[in-house]
């Protein structure tokens, strides 16, 4: 009897110990939602083509953040989500800027052609 008592005490003790170690996964945080939406926007802006590195980094930080959140590491996961957001934001602006620069170059070429044609037309 004493033996059983000792064994169960040990078992409970170890369960307590184990549960102490086991993590509680965190619910999706505001930071994560914000970063995810920024990744979507960057993707939509053409970051896959124009800002590949920043977008990849953002996605990677998101995965790391989610892994940290699953382990209950709140502070660590929040930092990673923030960095993911910063990367995604940079990727979005970079992609928009690159696309716009391309369009502007097209406009410049058009105006240069017009100028060329105009000066040729008026050359006697």
């Amino acid at each position: 009897m004493k033996c059983i008592q000792a064994a169960s005490t040990a078992l409970i003790g170890s369960v307590v110990l184990l549960s102490g170690c086991a993590s509680t996964p965190l619910a999706p945080s505001t930071e994560m939602t914000r970063a995810k939406s920024a990744i979507d926007q960057a993707d939509h802006a053409g970051a896959r083509e124009y800002a590949t590195d920043s977008l990849n980094s953002s996605v990677q930080k998101m995965a790391q953040g989610q892994a940290a959140a699953a382990k209950g590491e709140k502070a660590q996961s929040e930092q990673l989500f923030e960095e993911s957001y910063a990367d995604a934001h940079l990727a979005q602006i970079s992609a928009e800027s690159a696309k716009s620069a391309k369009d502007a170059a097209g406009v410049d070429r058009g105006i240069a052609t017009l100028q060329n044609e105009a000066s040729h037309a008026t050359t006697p």
């Binding site: 716009s100 017009l114 100028q115």
Partner: protein, 277 residues
């Protein structure tokens, strides 16, 4: 004395430990590579005058993260936390720069219409200026040729001083007027000419007709010898017709012995003969 020695040793040991501990505090890093990198990016964005509007908001975020990183470093907080702020600061500083580039190219696109209009306006002004210049040049050349404007076009009259009486070959003194005419026709290659010869009423009609034709041909040959294409010139003899002076007087007859060079308007075909009224 003997007991003093171990005490001194203990004191020395404590002092050493304290100084070690202090040294440990003193070596707490006061600079962080990532933070300095972020600072450089923030300064660069700050000094970019194009950073405005939404880009300015990103710069503010970068500045705040940098300040936070500095504060954490000063407080001796974990390097990972400082690095995190530095990371965010640098990304937002770069985003501010990219935002400035975006604003610049968007503005260039938005201004495209006014830039096109400006190009066309300048071209039109240039064209008008050139047309003005051309018309001034033409006026000057015609004035130099003593040309007169008539219903049929611009007429240059070569008086009988170009010819010996009863002869069709040009006098050497006629060179200057013909040189001017040649220069004019070279400057205006789209203008063709119609050369018409006339005589006074002295002599038979057949003779005068032939003489007027030969005089017109003579002027044509002089022009072609100076490089004017023959197919730009049409000659015609009008004999004693269309007198401009009174054949009863010597002065009138001299006026009637002439060759008129009708300079046609640009593009008017040489063959489109303009009949005299």
């Amino acid at each position: 004395m003997k007991t003093l020695f171990p005490r001194t040793l203990a004191a020395t040991t404590v002092a050493a430990a304290v100084s070690l501990a202090l040294a440990a505090c003193a070596t707490t890093p006061q600079s962080n590579v990532m933070l300095e990198q972020a600072r450089a990016a923030v300064v660069s964005a700050q000094t970019n005058p194009q950073v405005a509007g939404e880009a300015k908001a990103d710069l503010t975020t970068a500045q705040e993260a940098l300040a936070q990183g500095d504060a954490l470093l000063k407080a001796g907080k974990p390097v990972a936390d400082v690095d995190h702020e530095a990371y965010v600061a640098e990304r937002f500083a770069l985003a501010a720069q990219k935002g400035a580039e975006l604003d610049t190219s968007r503005k260039a696109i938005a201004d495209a219409d006014s830039r096109r209009t400006a190009v066309l306006l300048v071209a039109r002004e240039d064209e008008a200026a050139r047309a003005n210049e051309k018309s001034r040049e033409l006026e000057a050349s015609l004035a130099d040729l003593k040309a007169s404007k008539t219903d049929r076009g611009v007429v240059v009259t070569l008086g009988d001083v170009l010819f010996e009486t009863g002869r069709a070959d040009l006098k050497s003194g006629s060179r200057q007027t013909l040189d001017k005419l040649t220069t004019f026709l070279q400057a205006y290659p789209k203008r063709n000419v119609q050369i018409e010869g006339f005589t006074d009423s002295v002599g038979g009609d057949d003779y005068n007709q032939g003489l007027s034709e030969r005089r017109a041909d003579s002027v044509r040959d002089a022009l072609t010898s100076m490089g004017i294409a023959r197919d730009r010139i049409l000659t015609k003899g009008l004999g004693k017709g269309s007198p401009v002076g009174d054949n009863a007087t010597a002065a009138g007859r001299q006026q009637n012995r002439r060759v008129e060079v009708l300079i046609l308007d640009e593009g008017v075909a040489r063959t489109a003969l303009m009949e005299r009224p």
